[in-house]
Every structure is written in structure tokens, then in C-alpha cells.
């Protein structure tokens, strides 16, 4: 390797910094596209400074009404929180139970292809739609109240956990399955002796994580009437009880915070 030998009066050697997108045309093209998009969409949505500027003082007004938070109706608050916690626990438990068969069927290396396809389709469909949409359906069928919420969260939990299980099983080293099959073990014994030891730790970890996520989601399905603290919150907003709203929001944030704390503690303990 020899150094460049140019002694002519030329500019010093240039270097270009490494960028994420190599071709300048693509890079600038995307940038221009991005700016153009923003301009167009803002226009389409009819967003103008007027609305934003009238919003700010309204926000200020709202804040002043929110503070200080009103905890006087704490029994209602506690009832709502308890209901949300119950919903989250129930959904996590039954979600775990249902996720086991669904996850097993969703593993391509374990079950025949048609079973695998059906399971995967079920998983995809339940994950596509936001839980609020599912909640609305359940509210329509079962009426207002926490039952609809629990069912919604069960659907959300099951699809999430079963997807993880299916992926875990597919990522297993195939040799272990072969070896246990070679001893003459039947399918159920294969499950508990080979699949379960490999997937159990992550299954538990994911389920605990889901418990924490369910607490967050349980606060929201209430907005469409599916029970929990969300229902209480929605009511306060519609009645302009902003000081109570703030109290509820503080409760929600603390609950979620506690939930995350609990979940990471348990997961650390499991390891």
C-alpha cells in the first residue's frame, strides 16, 4: 500500500463522513419528501395557528382548574383502581392459560401446517385491532362494566403471550426435540420434558410484563365503558371535574409506576 503520490498543486485529499443513507440523492430526496409531506398534511388537516393559539390559554385555564387535585372522592377512586387491578390480574392469569395452547399451535416446528396457519391467523387478527375496538365489541355484547374489559384484556394478553411462546419454540435448537423423540416419548411427554424447560422462564417473564401492561390498558378500556378507573376518568372529563381528573391521573401514573417496579422485581427474582 503506497501513499498517494500527487505532488501537483491540488486540493488536500477529501474525506466524506459516513452517513446513514449513502447516496446523496436518496438522502436529500427523502428530506424534501418529508418536508413536502408535512406541509401538505398540515394543510389537508386544516391545522392553523389560530386553533393552537386559542388552545394554549385554554390549556392554562384547565391547569388552573386541575390544581390542586381533588382527592375528596377517594372511595370512588379506590374502587376504580381496585377494579382496574382486578381486571389486569384476571386478564393476565387467563391470558397465560389460553396462550399455552395457542402458542403451541403457532410453532411451525411442532404442529402440522394447517394447525399452524390457523393459529397464526388468530394471533395476527387479534393483534391488529386496538383493544378499544375489541372493547367496544365486548361492550356491545356483554354490556357496560368490567366484564367486557376483562375479556378485552384477555384477548390482548393471549395474543401477545402466545406470539412469544410460538417464537420461542421455533427458536429452540431442533436437536433436543429429536433426542427426546428418539427415546420413544409421546407428544405430551415431549412437551413437559423438552419444550417446557426451555420456554418456561421466558413465558413467566413475558406474562409478568403483560401484567404490568394490562394495568396500563385497563385504565383505557374504561373510556368506552368497559370498567376500571378509565371509566371514572372519562366521566370526570365530560363533567369538567378537572381537579378530580388530576387526582385520578396521579393515581394512574402511580399505579403504573408500581406495576413496573413490581414486574421488574419479580423478573429479577425469577432469573
Amino acid at each position: 500500500m503506497s501513499a498517494p503520490q500527487s505532488h501537483t498543486a491540488s486540493a488536500p485529499p477529501r474525506w466524506n463522513r459516513l452517513r446513514m443513507i449513502e447516496t446523496p440523492a436518496l438522502r436529500y430526496g427523502l428530506l424534501i419528501l418529508g418536508v413536502a409531506y408535512i406541509v401538505w398534511s398540515v394543510g389537508v388537516l386544516d391545522i392553523n395557528w389560530h386553533r393552537i393559539s386559542t388552545g394554549i390559554p385554554r390549556a392554562g385555564n384547565m391547569f388552573s382548574r386541575m390544581v390542586p387535585p381533588d382527592f375528596s372522592r377517594w372511595s370512588l377512586l379506590v374502587k376504580g383502581v381496585l377494579e382496574s387491578v382486578q381486571m389486569a390480574l384476571a386478564a393476565s392469569f387467563f391470558g397465560m392459560l389460553l396462550a399455552i395452547p395457542l402458542g403451541l399451535c403457532g410453532a411451525g416446528n411442532l404442529v402440522p401446517r394447517p394447525v399452524y396457519l390457523v393459529a397464526r391467523i388468530i394471533i395476527i387478527l387479534s393483534r391488529t385491532f386496538h383493544e378499544i375496538i375489541i372493547a367496544i365489541f365486548f361492550v356491545k355484547i356483554f354490556g357496560f362494566g368490567p366484564l367486557a374489559g376483562v375479556l378485552t384484556l384477555i384477548v390482548a394478553s393471549t395474543s401477545f403471550i402466545s406470539k412469544m411462546i410460538a417464537e420461542d419454540i421455533e427458536n429452540m435448537t431442533p436437536g433436543q426435540l429429536e433426542a427426546i423423540r428418539a427415546t420413544g416419548a409421546s407428544f405430551p411427554k415431549l412437551l413437559i420434558y423438552c419444550i417446557s424447560p426451555n420456554t418456561l422462564p421466558r413465558f413467566l417473564g413475558v406474562s409478568i410484563y403483560r401484567l404490568d401492561a394490562n394495568i396500563r390498558h385497563s385504565t383505557v378500556v374504561g373510556i368506552v365503558g368497559a370498567g376500571g378507573i378509565g371509566q371514572v376518568l372519562a366521566a370526570t372529563f365530560s363533567r369538567y371535574d378537572y381537579d378530580f381528573s388530576l387526582a385520578i391521573l396521579i393515581a394512574i401514573v402511580s399505579l403504573v409506576f408500581l406495576g413496573e417496579f413490581f414486574s421488574s422485581w419479580v423478573r429479577g427474582y425469577l432469573r
Partner: protein, 277 residues
């Protein structure tokens, strides 16, 4: 004991892995199967316990035709064949004892397996095997905490827990260092002699195959090109199996404990043997 009749395997991609393979095993012996990669060694071993389904042909274990069994009967038949793998294939998160006992899964009920309450004779046999393979005291160690050689011993123990009529061994030493390889092969030889169980062993190391086996089957392109005593593997045989190569250093029937210094002498002795033989 084992009869393979006209075994053929063609994969869906069109690759012909086995082509009219036939041979018989009728005494307790170690049979080494050698051949280049892709010769069909792995496929052959797996067709015997039907982990791979043969396209045509028959596998007879003591007059039971493995190829025609239904799933339940197949599971019963598999209990009689112990398999040992190149990558050990232990269940990593379970302890050594659980891995050993998994050899009995074909014999115990689901509930016993779940609650890990195996019959006392099985537990006793497991402890005995643990000692026999040199892992005394390791029963509660997790399998992923062991070295490669130790894991392979557990794998051997697991296969023997089945009290099998036949051992199928797929490249047991490919992932092990030379010294451990010889230890494992020695263990296999001793166990075969003690229990009178024949063993089919895939090996890619010809020298190892010759040192430790009584009979050698050479596969090439899915066909048997040699089936005879290991002493009969000459340079010509190796050429037929693997192709043109300088085989002078490989063809030997050395004592496994001979030190490296004697290798040169042995080489000279062998070359003289081959020239006259």
C-alpha cells in the same frame, strides 16, 4: 438383530441420499460408518429409528419392520434403540439426573414424567450409570454447566438408560477435542462389550474408526462401497470412498495409547504392510 433391506431415501428437493442400502448386523459389535459429507451417513442412521422417513426399503429390528409401524408402535420400537448425537442434544436447563432419566420417557407414564417421580429401579440404574460414565456426584448439575466431553457422557448414559437392543451413534466425537474423542470412543467400546449391544457409529475420522471398531461400512453417494473388517480398509478402499488422496498416513490400525513419537515408526511399518497386502 438388525437387517436393512434395500433402503432408499430421496428428499423432496430431488437429492438422492440413500441408494439401495442393504446390510445386516447379527452380533454385538461396533460398526463404524465412514464416508464424505453428504454421503448419507446421517440419513441412514436416522432412517433406522425413523426420525427420517425412508422412501422405500425395510428396516427390520429382530423381525419387527420399523418402516411399517404406526405411531404408537413406532414409539415402542424407539425405546429399544438408543441414540447418541453429535451435538449431545441434552435438555440444557435440566439437571444431569433429569437428562439421564429422560431415557426412560418411553417407559413411564405422563404423570411420573411431569412430577419427575421415576420408579426406584430407574433411579438406581441412573446412579449406577452416572458412576460408570465417570460423572459421579454430578446428578444435580445443570446440563449447560458441563463441558463437551461431559455432556456426551450424559448423552451416552441417556441412551443406555433405555436398556436398548441397538445403539445409533451420530458422529459422537465431531465436536470434541482429540483426547476427549478417544476417551468417549473407548467408553463406547467398553459399554458395547459389557452389554452385548451392537452399535452403529457414524464417524468422519477414519483413524478413529479403525482404532475402535470391528467392522467398517463405507458410504459414498448414498451407496455402500465397502463392508468388512476394519483391517481390510486399504488405501484403495479409502480412494473408493473418499476419492484420490494421499492415504498413507490415514491407513493404520494403531494402538490407541501409542505415544506420538512412535507414529513415524508405525507409519513405516504400515506402509510396508499395505505394499505386500
Amino acid at each position: 438383530m438388525l437387517t436393512i433391506k434395500d433402503l432408499n431415501k430421496v428428499y423432496p428437493t430431488g437429492t438422492r441420499a440413500l441408494n439401495h442400502v442393504s446390510f445386516t448386523v447379527d452380533q454385538p459389535q461396533i460398526i463404524a460408518i465412514i464416508g464424505p459429507s453428504g454421503a448419507g451417513k446421517s440419513t441412514l442412521i436416522r432412517c433406522i429409528n425413523r426420525l427420517v422417513k425412508p422412501t422405500s426399503g425395510r428396516v427390520l429390528l429382530d423381525d419387527i419392520d420399523i418402516t411399517s409401524l404406526n405411531r404408537r408402535q413406532l414409539r415402542r420400537a424407539r425405546r429399544r434403540m438408543g441414540m447418541i448425537f453429535q451435538e449431545y442434544n441434552l435438555v440444557d436447563r435440566l439437571t444431569v439426573m433429569e437428562n439421564l432419566l429422560s431415557g426412560r420417557l418411553g417407559y413411564v407414564s405422563f404423570w411420573r414424567a411431569w412430577r419427575r417421580k421415576f420408579p426406584p429401579e430407574d433411579v438406581k440404574a441412573a446412579f449406577k450409570l452416572l458412576e460408570r460414565v465417570g460423572l459421579e456426584g454430578y446428578q444435580d448439575t445443570r446440563a449447560d454447566a458441563l463441558s463437551g466431553g461431559q455432556r456426551q457422557r450424559v448423552g451416552i448414559g441417556r441412551a443406555l438408560m433405555q436398556a436398548p437392543d441397538l445403539l445409533l451413534v451420530d458422529e459422537p466425537t465431531a465436536s470434541l477435542d482429540p483426547k476427549t474423542s478417544r476417551q468417549i470412543m473407548r467408553l463406547l467400546v467398553e459399554l458395547v462389550q459389557e452389554r452385548g449391544t451392537p452399535a452403529l457409529v457414524n464417524i468422519h475420522d477414519v483413524a478413529l474408526a479403525q482404532s475402535f471398531s470391528d467392522r467398517i461400512i463405507g458410504l459414498r453417494g448414498g451407496e455402500i462401497v465397502f463392508d468388512g473388517q476394519s483391517s481390510g480398509v486399504t488405501e484403495d478402499v479409502l480412494t473408493a470412498i473418499y476419492g484420490e488422496e494421499d492415504w498413507s498416513l490415514t491407513v493404520r490400525k494403531g494402538d490407541d495409547d501409542s505415544p506420538a513419537e512412535k507414529k513415524a515408526d508405525k507409519k513405516n511399518g504400515l506402509i510396508r504392510e499395505a505394499a505386500t497386502g
